[in-house]
Amino acid sequence: MNASLSPPKKLRVATTSLAGCFGCHMSFLDIDERLLKLLDLIEFDRSPLTDIKHCGPCDLGFIEGGLCNAENVHVLREFRAHCKILVAVGACAINGGLPAQRNHLDLRDVLEEVYQTEAGLSHGGIPNDPELPLPLNKVHPIHEVVKIDYFLPGCPPSADAIWKFLTDLLAGRTPTLGHGLLHYD
């Protein structure tokens, strides 16, 4: 009896940006004063907002951006391992987006062009520091590597779309966006 009367436990939420531009995170901040309402319901784990470096056990994970390098894959897997629900947020997470427009080019040509032949560079060669993550041959959306539970499209999704999505999810409803909120651009 008591358990049902006590305030519900706050949901623990992690967010990150992989091969993205943080635009989806910026759009999230655009929910403005509704953030305060949200903070009654959730608490943040790893996120650019907390600066926690590794994701712990979470109820919800939000991933912005696609996969363009090895580190993206590690982070995505860490999120999948720790988040009960994983959400792909924005065009890049969902179909590779802008970074994936390099996919019709050969990675070799891209690296050569950028680090070796482009005029005005110091011709220092292609960086090979083990600290740096290696780029993948192609950019991939995240659903090609781990199972994704929900998708929130947009470039970025609007603050209202994010709010609708979150409130549906937190209320236990299957998120739906509908006309005006569902958009790919």
Binding site: R77, A81, R108, I126, L134, N137
Partner: protein
């Protein structure tokens, strides 16, 4: 002769008629090696068609090349039965000896080696086509010798004649193959009866189409006969569908080799019934080697007054042309075949209208299978009563089966309809059989518990393929071979088939690489459900049949390949870093990704 003069001569031979574009393209390519942009422009001008139409046809068919493909083009038949006879290793050995990658043309423009869909030599494989001439029974020593001949640039015409031998391998004859008719006998009987009564005989005999679908031949002929011609070119047409492309089927090849008179006579009887003066035999490109013999059989019939005008002294006028296809399975679908006859890409039409009312050149057209037409001769000569005594209630007459795979005596078996799968297996000497693929990839996979089922429209209808797999065979690999076949042969017209066949192929490859999960199997079922209802034609509708059948009957063959029960990445993660590793020279732990998740 310049290229332009050569092209013009070919087009002139076809009277500048664009509907003969397939033949124009083939004959031009036979002389020039490939169809260059300038060649296509010249042909378009000569037949007064928009250039894009000509290019659209040229790049639809596998056997037309809009890029140079080498002076020797070797194509390995890639049916599962060829693979079971070792074609994969032989092709690899050939590529190695020629320093070639499959699909690529050698630097000197001499040769290319690639695969092609089943060439219809399943009982005498592994088979190849060299410059579109059929060669059977490839062996390691033939590969070595062939490489030498190619290197020495010996013309294919001078290669050992025995390589080009194609055997009939008739193992069991019944009413059709054991017929005692002489040329003209059946046609004479039909002429004596007249079209009306001949039609009635066909209907009374309850003859059904041998292409697999089993539509009533009498109904089809009647609908065509009753349909009015349209406009200035009003006419009726008979088309013989000899585009025998269903992998594992080769009975039409044998009929056309040794029973061509029966086939042509059946076409003539159909012409009499539907009121046609022209018949066309659409011969699959893989059977190019039969063209000259068939043309000469036609000439003999003309000389014997069995074709032409006043046939056998009657007022009946009828002649037959042969059109050669160019490597497109989809043209076995009757409306796609008609498109191809008209010089267009083989895209199935929207139906209705059906070809019987609006077919070739928009005129009433009956399209019948080779075997159906041959069978009609028996009915003409011996009557419907005699004919209908054979077979079963709903499947009268006999059926030719093309038996291949794991058996001692592959070849052609003719049975009255109603024969059990088990009987066929016994007769062909198949032991330890675990499954039979009947009617090809788009047909049905019959497992051991079902061997008492019967070949008949009441139970298992078939176009004739009967591929036997013994217990050593991996039924997953069988299904994967078929998935590749459909992805290659999808015409690309409708969304579900164009994209779906490739998605299915990719999923099967993923499972084969041992990167699959139960999620991927669910995806296969989902694609099956979509493609079966939403596709434009039979190809897309049946493309998942072999997957569905084997998933139901041989599921462990899939399951033992699964990587895990979890969701698995779509691609090889570590391999996806290969280019960056190469460019940076790194090989440290951070330069790799494990394909299994770390946690």
């Amino acid at each position: 002769m310049s290229d332009t003069e050569m092209i013009d001569a070919v087009v002139d031979r076809h009277h500048g008629d664009g509907t003969r574009l397939m033949q124009i393209l083939r004959e031009t390519q036979e002389q020039l090696g490939w169809l260059s942009p300038a060649t296509l422009t010249r042909i378009a001008q000569a037949i007064a068609w928009p250039r894009a139409w000509v290019e659209g046809t040229a790049d639809f068919y596998s056997f037309f090349h809009t890029r140079p493909m080498g002076r020797y083009r070797v194509l390995w038949s890639d049916n599962i039965t060829d693979r079971m006879l070792g074609s994969t290793d032989l092709m690899q050995a050939m590529c190695k000896k020629l320093w070639l990658e499959p699909g690529r043309v050698s630097e000197d423009g001499l040769v290319s080696v690639d695969t092609t869909s089943c060439t219809g030599m399943c009982d005498q494989g592994p088979a190849v086509l060299v410059n579109y001439q059929a060669i059977t029974r490839m062996t390691p020593s033939r590969v070595a010798e062939m490489v030498g001949l190619i290197r020495g640039e010996t013309p294919v015409a001078d290669w050992p004649a025995e390589w080009f031998a194609v055997d009939d391998n008739i193992r069991r004859k019944d009413m059709l193959l054991a017929h005692d008719l002489v040329p003209g006998q059946a046609l004479g009987a039909a002429l004596e009866r007249g079209g009306d009564r001949m039609l009635a005989e066909i209907k009374d005999a309850r003859l059904r189409g041998r292409g697999g679908a089993g539509f009533g031949t009498g109904q089809k002929w009647e609908a065509c006969r009753n349909a009015p011609g349209h406009g200035a070119g009003a006419a009726h047409y008979v088309v013989c569908n000899a585009d025998e492309g269903e992998p594992g089927t080769f009975k039409d090849r044998v009929l056309l080799t040794s029973y061509a008179d029966l086939v042509f006579e059946g076409m003539s009887i159909a012409g009499l019934v539907v009121g046609a003066r022209k018949g066309m035999l659409y011969l699959r490109g893989e059977y190019r080697y039969l063209l000259e013999a068939l043309e000469s059989a036609l000439a003999t019939r003309r000389a014997a007054n069995l074709l032409g005008s006043n046939i056998l002294g009657s007022a009946f006028e009828f002649d037959i042309e042969i059109h050669l296809g160019a490597g497109a399975y989809i043209c076995g679908e009757e409306s796609a075949l008609i498109e191809s006859l008209e010089g267009k890409p083989g895209r199935p039409r929207i139906r209705p209208p059906f070809p019987v009312t609006r077919g070739y050149l928009d005129q009433p057209t009956t399209v019948n299978n080779v075997e159906t037409l041959a069978a009609s001769c028996l009915i003409a000569a011996h009557g419907s009563e005699w004919y209908a005594q054979h077979g079963t209630e709903k499947s009268t007459g006999s059926k030719l089966l093309s038996v291949s795979g794991d058996c001692e005596r592959p070849g052609i078996y003719e049975y009255p309809y109603g024969v059990t799968v088990r009987q066929v297996l016994e007769d062909c000497g198949a032991s330890d059989c675990q499954a039979v693929q009947i009617s090809g990839p788009s047909g049905i996979c019959v497992a051991e518990g079902e061997f008492d089922r019967r070949i008949a429209f009441e139970d298992i209808p078939t176009a004739g393929a009967f591929m036997v797999f013994d217990e050593t065979r991996d039924m997953f690999e069988v299904a994967r071979n078929f998935a590749h076949f459909f992805a290659h042969e999808s015409c690309g017209f409708c969304t579900p088939c164009r994209v779906g066949t490739t998605l299915v192929r990719n999923l099967m490859d993923k499972i084969a690489r041992q990167h699959g999960s139960p999620y991927d199997i669910d995806e296969l079922f989902k694609l099956h459900r979509l493609m079966q209802g939403a596709s434009h034609c039979g190809l897309g509708n049946s493309a998942c049949n072999p997957i569905f059948d084997t998933l139901n009957k041989f599921r462990p063959a899939y399951e033992r390949r699964l990587m895990s029960l979890d969701y698995e990445p779509a691609f090889d993660l570590d391999a996806a870093l290969s280019q960056a590793r190469q460019m940076t020279g790194r090989d440290d732990a951070g330069a790799h990704l494990q394909n299994e998740a770390e946690t």
